[in-house]
Structures are given as structure tokens and as C-alpha cells.
């Protein structure tokens, strides 16, 4: 199979996946019975439709990412890999340092209204780390392509 055919096949698979996700959404919304065997310690059981939809969405995202990646040409893949490594890591270092410096200087980084609990602070750290990496990734990706124009 040549490259163009492989790319077209992967794009067709992505379309099929989207149709499958739409069908799964219908099932997810209409199946309202409580999920069986749900551990009582996890709280009230959600509807089985929600559980199926969540599982289907996870599979959809994994497969869609795989087909999307395979449909990219080698330079586009290289741009993403480069951006992931340099942009993600530098973004994490710079963003992490900024958060630590701000916190050490008494800056309240939590949005107004949120309680200052351990959970909220950990969540803030996770979101800040992810956001910093995402910003770094975006900048690095733009830089890679701009430098090759």
C-alpha cells in the first residue's frame, strides 16, 4: 500500500470512528438503567449508558489519535515530536518555575471562590503544569514550521 492510499485509508477510518461515536452517544443517552456491580464505596451508580459512553469515548480518542498520527506526513510528525520534547519540557520548566516563584511570593493562584484545600492546590498544580506544557508545545510547533518556510 503506498503512502497516499494509507493516508486515505486512515482518514476513512477516522470518519467511521466518528459515525460509531455518534451511535454510541445515542446508546449512552438512552440507556438510563443504573450500572450493575458498581462498588458502594464509589457513591451512587451512574447510568450504564454514561459508563458505556465514557469507555467508548476513551477508545475513540485512542484510535482517532492513532489514525490521525498515521495520516500525517513525516515532516508533520517530526514537527510534533520536536514540539513535544522541546516545547513541552521547556514550557514545563518555565511554567513550573513561574508557579513556584509566585507561590513563594504569596501570590494566590487559586481562582476566587475556590477553597484552599489540598485537593484544590494539587489540581491547580496539575492544570498549571499541563497548561504550561501545552503553551510551550504550541510555540515550539509554530517555531518548527516557521523556521522551515
Amino acid at each position: 500500500m503506498n503512502t497516499a492510499t494509507k493516508t486515505a485509508a486512515d482518514k476513512k477510518k477516522m470518519d467511521d470512528l466518528t459515525v460509531g461515536l455518534c451511535a454510541l452517544t445515542v446508546v449512552g443517552v438512552s440507556a438510563t438503567a443504573a450500572t450493575p456491580f458498581w462498588p458502594a464505596t464509589w457513591g451512587q451508580a451512574p447510568s450504564i449508558g454514561v459508563v458505556v459512553l465514557a469507555a467508548g469515548l476513551a477508545v475513540f480518542l485512542a484510535l482517532h489519535t492513532l489514525y490521525w498520527w498515521r495520516a500525517l506526513d513525516e515532516a508533520a510528525q517530526e514537527a510534533h515530536k520536536w514540539a513535544w520534547w522541546w516545547g513541552g519540557n521547556l514550557g514545563f520548566i518555565v511554567g513550573g518555575a513561574a508557579v513556584v516563584i509566585a507561590a513563594l511570593n504569596g501570590v494566590d493562584l487559586l481562582p476566587a471562590g475556590l477553597p484552599h484545600t489540598d485537593t484544590a492546590l494539587i489540581a491547580l498544580g496539575v492544570v498549571a503544569a499541563f497548561a504550561a506544557q501545552a503553551v510551550g508545545y504550541g510555540i515550539a510547533w509554530c517555531f518548527w514550521w516557521t523556521a522551515r518556510r
Partner: protein, 66 residues
């Protein structure tokens, strides 16, 4: 950000009156990739270099010159 090679991709493309988009479609890559290749700012992988050589009917060393 320049390559160690000089390539004659643009020359061979021009000989055939192909646009970058035409070449990109035949190689199964994006137009941006063809642009980066022509400007010598991206070195192709060996499989892509072979595809380019096959498309132009020339040996690789006639297209990519050190």
C-alpha cells in the same frame, strides 16, 4: 536550520511544470513539507528520498547532492 545537502527538487519539479501542491500530492506529503524540502530546511527520510527519486526517474544522488 539548513540541510547538509543541496537538492534539485525545485529544478525537476519546474521541468515538469508541477506546482508544489502537485508534487506533494504525488509524494503523499503536505505542500508545506515540499516547501521545506525544496528550501533545504528539512532532510527527507530514506523512504521519502526513494519515493522522490522514483517519481522523477532519477537516482537519489542526482537529486540530493552533498
Amino acid at each position: 536550520m539548513t540541510s547538509d545537502f543541496v537538492n534539485r527538487l525545485k529544478v525537476f519539479r519546474a521541468e515538469r511544470n508541477w506546482t508544489q501542491a502537485d508534487l506533494a500530492e504525488q509524494l503523499g506529503v503536505s505542500r508545506q513539507t515540499v516547501q521545506a524540502l525544496e528550501k533545504g530546511r528539512y532532510d527527507p527520510s530514506l523512504p521519502l528520498a526513494f519515493r522522490i527519486a522514483r517519481l522523477f526517474g532519477r537516482p537519489i544522488e542526482a537529486i540530493f547532492v552533498q
